[in-house]
Amino acid sequence: MNKVIVMLRKAPYGSVYTAEAFRTIMGIAVFEMEICVIFMDDGVYALLKDQNPEKLDMKPLGDGFPMLKDFNVSKFVVHDESLSERGLTTDDLVLEVELANSNQIKDLMNDYGKVLPF
């Protein structure tokens, strides 16, 4: 099985990257790809509960991530420092995630070999 990390590092709104990362995950998951999704820096905001971006003409992105289990995507990793720096905890997030420090994320990147950064 092919393995790839999709890494989200940007804020969910204000640019298209998070929405496209989400679309990429769905788009390649159907081709027998083992996917690990990592949220770092402002990327952690993508998982916040109760997003309400309608006034920006954007659809809420957070609600989509729990759905990815239906596409056999179930490995979600959040960079612990990025979360705590923003005053957030896992209780603020829409789904259960694994917390990882920078070294553990480095190991994941080594293990998966290929990374799609958004």
């Binding site: 790839v4 390649i28 081709f31 290929k114």
Partner: protein, 117 residues
């Protein structure tokens, strides 16, 4: 080694596509093979055949030449629709297709590089 490439930014605003082009030329010169180039988000604008920069590098022509040399260059169909990049606006030796091509390039490649902002 087989190398896959994804480009996320359009022409001239960001360096991404230029870096990708120079990287690919250097990789080929070193004997590596390119598994494919996937143009995603604004990257689909890099193959507009009407790009015409007076006295400067022509990005779409450069990509077309890479395509002519046998590299599979795919622009995301959905991203192209969002940006009005109709297939008849594209240079020769490139094609439009979906994320399946990205999956295919990922599978074929030993290493995969993304050029973005």
């Amino acid at each position: 080694m087989k190398i896959g490439v994804m480009i996320l930014e359009g022409p001239y605003q960001h360096q991404a596509v230029d870096s990708a082009y120079l990287f690919i030329k250097a990789a080929i010169a070193r004997g590596h093979e390119i598994a494919g180039i996937f143009l995603y988000t604004d990257g689909v604008n890099n193959i507009n055949k009407f790009i015409n920069p007076p006295g400067e590098r022509n990005i779409s022509k450069r990509l077309s030449e890479l395509g002519e040399s046998g590299i599979d260059i795919v622009a995301c169909t959905a991203c192209s629709k969002f940006r009005g990049m109709r297939p008849d606006l594209a240079v020769e030796h490139v094609r439009q297709s979906g994320l399946g091509s990205l999956a295919e390039f990922l599978r074929a490649a030993d290493r995969f590089l993304t050029f973005g902002d």
